[in-house]
Subunit: 83 residues, 2 copies
Amino acid sequence: MKAKVHVFLKPGVLDVQGKAVEGALNGLSTVQGWASVSHVRVGKVLEFDVAATTADEAKAQVKDMCDKLLANTVIESYTVEVA
Amino acid sequence: MKAKVHVFLKPGVLDVQGKAVEGALNGLSTVQGWASVSHVRVGKVLEFDVAATTADEAKAQVKDMCDKLLANTVIESYTVEVA
């Protein structure tokens, strides 16, 4: 089964990578008109195959993986999609 | 308008971060049963607001940003969603 996990920093946490990207896009704006870009958030996305008989079982497994390895739940939140 | 960009390494390019995650998940498998995890790919996801009057205009702007800054099109591919 295909699993897709999105990991983002929680809303209150400063996203320095997002700020850097925002600054870079705005900096290119004199030529390109990208001064309007705002609220940039950068996250991770992981795609993988997981062996499970049902979607619910796969989802439970992947959530467990997120809690234990893929996300730092102190500062990051995640969403899981299984198909 | 909200834009969402997924950036992944192209299929032929070795994804070392994905391999590392796969190894780590498999390494936890004696207890957890995650030996089945395979084909891990790690990518980036960027979410931001962009000023545009139509979805098509926004999409064109974001594609341009991807080509110029957000993705290295030699080794990475991207998908753009605008909502």
